[in-house]
Symmetry: C2
C-alpha cells in the first residue's frame, strides 16, 4: 500500500464535522475559518512506542489517547476544538496491518466526532512508530485560561479524580497488584482519558489560571506557580481523597499516585474565593466533579499540609521524559 | 538535562518575531491572533532519521530543512507564515549533545526569522530521532491557491530549477559521481531548500492552482490533475532544461531527475494564458525565476512530449514513502 492509498483508506473522510473547516485533507495545507474575534489555540504532542505506550497497546485506545492528550490542552486553555492533524510514522509491519490501522482510526475518529474536532490534515511516513497530533481550537481574545494568572488567596481546584492512571501503570509494570475490577477501571483512565473540554469552557471568566495534569499534580501545579510568581499550600489529604483506590496499597503509595502520578488529564485551576459558587456551577453545568485542594500563597514554594495542618516532609517528583531515560 | 530545561535552553525565546502571536511557548497552548478576514493555513511534516535525512546530517541543515518543507506548503497555498511548532523525539545521546541541539535550533531559527515564522510551541520526548514540524499561516478567505482549480487551457509553470536535489542524493548514494562544485551546489538544494513564499503570495488571484514539488514534478502535478479532473501535456525538454547539471550524466538520467526527482520544493502552478504577463511579473516581483513547461488539457492523463512534439513512452515514478519501504 502506498502513502496516499493509506491516507485515503484509513484517514480521509469526505465531510468534515465542523463548519470551521474551509478545506480538509488533500491539499498542501488545510484551511480553518475562525469566528470573528477569536484567537487560535494550538497544542502538539508526540507519542512514541515504548515510552508513551507499549507495543501491544490496543490501537483503538492509542487513537483515542493520542487525540485526548491534545484536547486536554485545549480544555486547559478554555478553547473550543476546531480540528486536528496527525503525523504518523509506521514500521512496515504496521503499514501493512489493515486491522491495526482501522482500529487506530476508529479510536481517533470516535473522540474527534464527540468533540467536533475533525482530522483536517497530516503526514504519513515509514519509521519507528510515532504519532504526532496537533490540535487547533478557538477562544475569544483575552479569555484563554493561562498558567500565569494565579493570585495569592486563590483557591486551588482539581477536576475529577487523581492517580488512577498511575495505579494502572504500576499494576501493568508488576509494581503491585490490583483487584480485577479496580485494575479495569484504573486502566480505563490510563488508556482512555477524558479531556475536560466542557469544564474548561465553563471556567472562562471564572478561573484565574489553569493547566492540565499530564505529568503529575504537583509538577503541573508547579508550572502555574512558576508562571504566576506565587506559592501554594496543598491539603495532601484532600488531594489523596481524589484517589478511590479500592486496593490494599499503603497510604504513602496512594498519596504518591494522587500527588505525582502522571496521565490523569484532569484540570487543576485557581479561582478567587468569591468565585467558589461559580466554580461549582461550572462543574455542575459540565457534569464534571470539582474539588478544592488548597490555596495560592504569596511568595514562592509549594507546601504540602497533612491532616493536622502541619507541613509534610516528603517530596514528590513528577514525570520528566528525559530525567527517566 | 530534563525535558523543560532542554526546551528552555535551546528552543525558548522570550520575544516572538511576529505580532500575530498572542502567546508563545510555555503554556498548554500557543495562541495566534489572525488578522480579520483571514483563514488559517496549516501543514505538518514528519522527518525520520534514515528516511528523510542521514544519521550524519549537519544538524543546522536539518533544522533548516524541517521548517523549509513546511513553509513550502504555505507557499503553495499563497499563505503568509504566522508561526510553527516543533515536536521532537530524541535518543539519549542526542538529548545530551548540546552542540547538536544548538546547531539544530540555529538552522531552524535562521529560516524562521527570515520568514517571520516564530516557534510558538512544541513537545520533546525521548525516542528514535523524529522531527514533526507544523506551520500556521494566514491567507485572505477565498484566495488560497488550491490543487483543484486547474482548467483546460491553463499554462503549467514551474519556479526555479528541478532535479538538483535528486542529483545530490544519487551522488551521496554512490549512484553516480559529480564534479565537486556541481555536487556542492546540488547538495545545497537537497539540504537547504528555499521555500517560495514570496512567489506564492504574489500568485494569489493569478494562478488557478498550485502545489509544491516534494515527491517529484510529475507525481505532484498529478495531484493537481486528479483534484481538478483535468489532464496535461508536458514539454519534457522544457522541464529538463530546468536542470543545469554540469555533469557527464546521460540524458535519460537527467530527465528522470528533473521530472521525477523529489525534494525540489519548487512551486508548480497553472494559470490561464491571458495571465502570462502577470505570472512573469509575480516571478519578477518575488525574484523567483518561472518557466512554462506545459498545458492543462481536457480529459485525464498526463502526456510527456519530446522535442519533436511526439509523446514519449517512458514513465516516471515519483517518491512514495511506503512503496520504497
Amino acid at each position: 500500500m502506498g502513502e496516499f492509498e493509506l491516507i485515503d483508506r484509513f484517514f480521509k473522510r469526505r465531510t468534515p464535522a465542523s463548519g470551521a473547516v474551509a478545506l480538509g485533507i488533500g491539499d498542501d495545507c488545510a484551511l480553518l475559518r475562525p469566528a470573528p474575534g477569536m484567537q487560535i489555540a494550538i497544542s502538539t504532542d508526540m507519542l512514541v512506542e515504548g515510552r508513551h505506550f507499549l507495543p501491544d497497546v490496543d490501537p483503538e485506545h492509542l487513537g483515542h489517547k493520542a487525540l485526548a492528550v491534545n484536547l486536554s490542552d485545549l480544555a486547559a486553555m478554555g478553547a473550543e476544538p476546531l480540528g486536528c492533524t496527525l503525523a504518523l510514522a509506521l514500521p512496515p509491519e504496521r503499514a501493512r496491518d489493515a486491522g491495526w490501522l482501522t482500529a487506530l482510526a476508529r479510536g481517533l475518529f470516535a473522540l474527534a466526532d464527540a468533540h467536533a474536532c475533525p482530522l483536517i490534515g497530516g503526514d504519513t511516513t515509514a519509521g519507528p512508530l510515532n504519532l504526532c497530533l496537533t490540535v487547533f481550537g478557538q477562544v475569544p481574545a483575552g479569555q484563554a485560561l493561562r498558567r500565569d494568572g494565579a493570585q495569592a488567596g486563590d483557591h486551588i481546584w482539581v477536576s475529577g479524580t487523581l492517580g488512577h492512571a498511575r495505579l494502572a501503570l504500576g499494576a501493568l509494570r508488576g509494581e503491585w497488584t490490583l483487584p480485577p475490577a479496580v485494575l479495569a477501571a484504573a486502566r480505563q483512565r490510563l488508556e482512555r482519558p477524558t479531556p475536560r473540554l466542557a469544564l474548561g469552557r465553563a471556567l472562562r471568566g471564572i478561573a484565574h489560571s489553569a493547566i492540565d495534569v499530564s505529568d503529575g499534580l504537583l509538577g503541573d501545579l508547579g508550572h502555574i506557580l512558576k508562571a504566576s510568581g506565587t506559592g501554594a499550600s496543598i491539603d495532601a489529604a484532600a488531594a489523596s481523597r481524589l484517589l478511590a483506590a479500592g486496593a490494599a496499597l499503603d497510604a504513602e503509595t496512594l498519596r504518591t499516585a494522587a500527588l505525582a502520578g502522571g496521565d490523569d488529564y484532569e484540570l487543576v485551576f485557581t479561582a478567587p474565593p468569591a468565585a467558589r459558587a461559580a466554580v461549582l456551577r461550572a462543574g455542575h453545568a459540565s457534569a464534571t466533579p470539582v474539588s478544592r485542594i488548597g490555596t495560592i500563597t504569596a511568595g514562592t514554594g509549594l507546601r504540602l499540609l497533612g491532616a493536622d495542618g502541619q507541613p509534610l516532609r516528603q517530596t514528590y517528583a513528577s514525570f520528566d521524559h528525559f530525567a527517566r531515560s
